[in-house]
Each structure stands twice: as structure tokens, then as C-alpha cells.
């Protein structure tokens, strides 16, 4: 395939500025792995694009210290599909099937950092779907939230909202 160049992994040393490759953008993950992408992909990532714009396009190697080399290929894959107009229900289902709960959150933070609206909305929906029918306890664990209600307060609230506690999935062991 002609476009395979887009998400190849290269080590930092190889990518050191070669004038002939100035058309591509190098994204450097937090663990120092370089990903070369087409400028159209960079455009999907608002944070990256504004960095390029600010330097009038002179700088094409962009450090992304908050994003790991594990997550970046997923982000790039999603952006590629998005540009190609190939984001289908099937693609999305396949895309998240590979990701466990922690990975989805990681990717969600990456999408937020890179400011990719479509990916952010999509992953919000994915996380929402994963917690939709879960118990209050499960959701606390999922987001690492401490229960700051007194037992009395919580019991009262649960009583008022008793009608919302039907059809809740049983908690499974922390899936990862």
C-alpha cells in the first residue's frame, strides 16, 4: 500500500532531520519513539497543528511527552480513517475491542491532550457505554473516586433514587 509510510515506527536517531523528508511530521512519544505522519494527519490533531503554525512550519518534529508509544499508533490509525472518511460502526467496534478499560482512559486523555474532537467524543461514548449499566461501586472503582457521603446520606439518596437501581449488571472481577 502506498500510504504505509504514515505510521511506521522509527527510532529517534534515524529520523534526525533529513531535508528530503520535510513534508512529513515527526511525532515524538513520551518514551522517545518517533512516528512519521503526513501533514494531513497532523491537521487532525489541533495541538500539533497549532504548534506547527506557531513556528510557520519550520519545526516538524513535535515532542508529545504526555503520550506513550503504546497509544500514539491508535490515535494515528483513528485520524487516518477519519481523513479517509472511513469511520464506520464496524471500524469503531473493532477499534475498541482491542482496548481494556485502562487503555481506553489513556487514549481518552491522549485525545484530549491532542485536541481531537471526534476521537474525544467517540471515546466518551465508549466509556459511557462501559459504565452505563454498572453499579455505583463499580463506577467509583473505575474512576478512582472516593465516596464522601456519610452512610446515612448515601442510604437516603439511594432510597430516593431506588427506581434507578433496576437492571444493573452484576459487578464482574476488575476486567483488564
Amino acid at each position: 500500500m502506498a500510504e504505509e509510510v504514515s505510521s511506521q515506527m522509527n527510532s529517534l536517531s534515524i529520523s534526525e532531520t533529513n531535508p528530503s523528508s520535510s513534508a512529513t511530521i515527526s511525532l515524538v512519544s513520551g518514551d522517545d519513539i518517533v512516528f512519521k505522519v503526513e501533514p494531513t494527519i497532523a491537521k487532525e490533531m489541533e495541538t500539533v497543528q497549532s504548534f506547527i503554525d506557531e513556528t510557520d512550519g519550520k519545526i516538524t518534529t513535535i515532542p508529545l511527552p504526555n503520550i506513550s508509544s503504546h497509544d500514539l499508533p491508535y490515535v494515528i490509525e483513528y485520524c487516518e480513517k477519519s481523513i479517509a472518511g472511513k469511520i464506520t460502526k464496524e471500524f469503531e467496534a473493532e477499534f475498541v475491542k482491542k482496548l481494556n478499560n485502562e487503555e481506553v482512559k489513556e487514549l481518552f486523555l491522549a485525545a484530549n491532550y491532542l485536541n481531537i474532537k471526534k476521537l474525544l467524543d467517540f471515546l466518551s461514548q465508549v466509556i459511557a457505554d462501559r459504565i452505563a449499566n454498572k453499579s455505583v461501586e463499580y463506577v467509583r472503582r473505575y474512576f478512582g473516586i472516593e465516596n464522601d457521603f456519610t452512610p446515612e446520606e448515601e442510604a437516603k439518596l439511594r432510597e430516593e433514587l431506588a427506581w434507578t437501581f433496576t437492571g444493573v449488571d452484576p459487578d464482574d472481577e476488575d476486567e483488564n
Binding site: 466518551s124 452505563a132 455505583v136 474512576f143 434507578t164 476488575d174
Partner: protein, 392 residues
């Protein structure tokens, strides 16, 4: 090995995520912590959730007889969803009106449903949010003298006026348009109409709402309207719109299809794909839909569909037990390809795909009346957003 602590998300991102949840899950998750309890009732979050929820379109379908009234909410996605079976049946859980002291659904706006009750001497409204399970007191009472001299009210529409952030009920009769505003808690006549002008509304005598404008189908009658004798002879059809913010009235033309008016059967209007549409049955052989691509501009009428009865697998019989065939559009998919229709002769939805000219049907086992369908989506909008009604 101790489990690694979960990755924490900042509060604003958690809000982003949970704004995609259905109301019932959200209400349950109020129990997660104090920091979750408050935002879920916060107006900004309610608004964010509303924006998301609008995409999950439902049809609100009423059922029942004199004794037992209610409605079901049917997600459009279930009609458009994987159509492997050509004909499917769906059973939905129902919301009963019996204990709400109301017998009729007027309409729905931002997840709120306006109910109506009438007796020979009195009538009232209530507003209900079925997703959060809250309902308003009775309001908008008006005595309805039986005198024939009082112009009769024909139809009510429940609307949201975005310019003033106000819910309203708009009523029309043969010579008037009245509005009930929740801020002032009174009925006010805002338009009196020329005596030959007859408002029809849509097929259910309701206005249709588009971007802060309420729209009715109407016609000019040959003789002035007389309460004693309903004699109608159409001189000319037209469309009336009422700007909810300014309360000004405009009139414009339907598409140019009335050269031979006898070919145009059961014309009416609907809002489909966020545009005003005009539809009719042509010579009892085709169903036709026009779209006004630029609102209020007569020359922007464009024909969207002309579908033969054969393609829809419907047949016209002149007269039998079921009466004449009428078709009404319920929904048009965002890409404009799939049209959901209702037929007066069937108890199931007709799902027509214009790309491959394919038809499927879905039956709802609840005894619903397809004709009185309304658009609906669930929301967290509190009843007290109707202003004084809650405190009254």
C-alpha cells in the same frame, strides 16, 4: 502484586463522559460521591446532556382508549437498526397517563411532555419529564363555555422559545391564535385571523416547530367561516408561520403542485431532516415529499421523493372497512436516504430505503396509534425550568 491504582480523569473530562449516559444511569450515579451529585443537577450540565441526548431520537407514540391512556417511546435506531428480518415486531415498556390526571399527550419539547385533560366544564395541562419521573402541578386552566358562539380551539402545540428561554403552549382555532406563556401564567390572544382563513395544522391539527418558528398548513375558504355551519371550499392553500420570539405571522406558498388540485390528496406538512417539508398522495398512485431548502423562500421548494405505491407495497382500495389510504412521514434519516412512513391502513411502520428502493416493516406490539407520533428524546430538564409553575 497489589493492583495498580486506576488512571484518574480530571473532573471536566468525567463530565464529558457522563454527558453521554442515559438519564436513568445518570440519576443512579448521583450516589457515587458529592462531587457527582451536584453537577448532574447543574443547569450547564443539563444543557450539555441535552445536546448529546438530542441525537438519540425517539418517536413518542400514544395508545389507549377512554379508560387506559399512555405512551411508549420508540428509539428511531430500532427502526433503522440491522434489518436482517424483513418484518420485525417490537414490544416497548409503556408510560401510563391514568394516574397523571390527564388523558391526552399534546407534545414534547426538550424531553418534557405536555399533557392535557378536559372535561365539559374545565381543562388543564401538566408537564411531565418521564425520564426523571417528575411532573408539574396543573396549570393553564380555562373554562370552556359550551356556547357555539365561542370559537372552538382545534389544536395545541407545546413549544420552546429559545429567544426568551420559555416554554409555551400555542393554541389555534378558526379565527385566532392564542399563546400560554409559563412566565405570565395566562392565555393571551396574539393573532386574530381574517375570516376566510382556515388553519389546519398538520394531520393532527398541530403546528410543526422549526428553529423558533411554529408552522401550520392553512387555506383560504371561499366564504367566511361560520361556526354554525362548517362549509369548506378551498380557494388556495398556503403555509402560515409564527415567529415565537416576535409573535409575527408570515404566509408563504406550498410547492407549485396544485395546477390540478384533484391530483393532490391529503396534503400536509412536517419537519424532516430539520427542514420544512410538504407531502401529499399523488393520484393515489404515489407518495410525494417536497423540501423547503431555504425556510420561507417559496422558490426553494425541491422535490425529495416521489415513491410509487408499488415500491412501498401499499394498495389503494376505494372504500372498505379501513377507509381511504393515507400515508404520513414519521422520520427521514440524516443522510436523506431512509424514510419512515405510517399508513392509515396498517398498524406497522413502513421503512423505505431510497438507495435500493427496498421496503421493510416493523410492528409495535403495544396497541399504539402511529398517526399521533411526536419526536422525543430524554433529558434531565427539571420541571421547575417552566418558571412559576413549580412554585405555584
Amino acid at each position: 502484586m497489589p493492583p495498580t491504582p486506576p488512571l484518574l480523569l480530571p473532573d471536566h473530562l468525567i463530565e464529558e463522559v457522563i454527558s453521554f449516559l442515559h438519564v436513568k444511569s445518570l440519576m443512579r450515579l448521583k450516589c457515587v460521591s458529592k462531587s457527582w451529585n451536584t453537577p448532574i443537577s447543574d443547569p450547564t450540565f443539563v444543557q450539555l446532556h441535552l445536546q448529546r441526548s438530542q441525537r438519540n431520537k425517539n418517536l413518542l407514540l400514544t395508545y389507549g382508549d377512554y379508560e387506559n391512556f399512555g405512551f411508549v417511546s420508540l428509539p428511531i435506531s430500532r427502526l433503522l437498526g440491522n434489518n436482517t428480518n424483513r418484518n420485525t415486531s417490537i414490544t416497548l415498556s409503556s408510560h401510563q397517563l391514568k394516574h397523571k390526571e390527564c388523558r391526552q399527550v399534546i407534545g414534547s419539547c426538550n424531553g418534557l411532555i405536555c399533557l392535557f385533560h378536559y372535561t365539559t366544564s374545565n381543562s388543564w395541562f401538566r408537564v411531565w419529564n418521564p425520564a426523571t419521573g417528575t411532573i408539574s402541578d396543573r396549570f393553564g386552566h380555562f373554562h370552556k363555555p359550551r356556547s357555539k358562539l365561542t370559537p372552538r380551539t382545534l389544536g395545541y402545540t407545546f413549544v420552546y422559545d429559545i429567544s426568551t428561554n420559555n416554554y409555551k403552549i400555542v393554541a389555534f382555532g378558526y379565527r385566532f391564535i392564542k399563546v400560554f406563556c409559563f412566565n405570565s401564567n395566562v392565555w393571551r390572544e396574539i393573532q386574530s385571523l381574517p375570516d376566510k382563513m382556515i388553519i389546519v395544522g398538520n394531520q393532527n391539527y398541530k403546528g410543526v416547530c422549526l428553529d423558533g418558528t411554529l408552522i401550520w398548513f392553512a387555506f383560504l375558504n371561499e366564504i367566511p367561516y361560520n361556526d354554525w355551519r362548517d362549509t369548506f371550499s378551498v380557494v388556495r392553500y398556503f403555509i402560515i408561520s409564527l415567529d415565537l420570539a416576535t409573535e409575527t405571522r408570515r404566509e408563504f406558498s406550498p410547492p407549485p403542485v396544485f395546477d390540478d388540485a384533484s391530483d393532490v390528496i391529503d396534503p400536509s406538512i412536517a419537519v424532516l431532516m430539520n427542514s420544512l417539508c410538504f407531502f401529499y398522495n399523488f393520484k393515489r398512485t404515489h407518495f410525494v415529499v417536497w423540501q423547503m431548502t431555504e425556510f420561507g423562500v417559496d422558490r426553494s421548494w425541491t422535490q425529495l421523493f416521489k415513491i410509487s405505491y408499488e415500491s412501498l407495497q401499499v394498495e389503494h382500495f376505494f372504500c372498505d372497512f379501513y377507509g381511504m389510504l393515507s400515508l404520513y412521514p414519521l422520520y427521514l434519516s440524516e443522510n436523506g436516504a431512509t424514510l419512515i412512513l405510517e399508513s392509515s391502513r396498517e398498524d406497522q411502520a413502513i421503512i423505505y430505503n431510497s438507495i435500493d428502493n427496498r421496503v421493510e416493516r416493523t410492528r409495535i406490539t403495544n396497541k399504539i396509534d402511529w398517526r399521533f407520533s411526536e419526536g422525543y428524546f430524554e433529558s434531565l430538564v427539571p420541571i421547575n425550568s417552566l418558571k412559576e409553575i413549580a412554585s405555584g
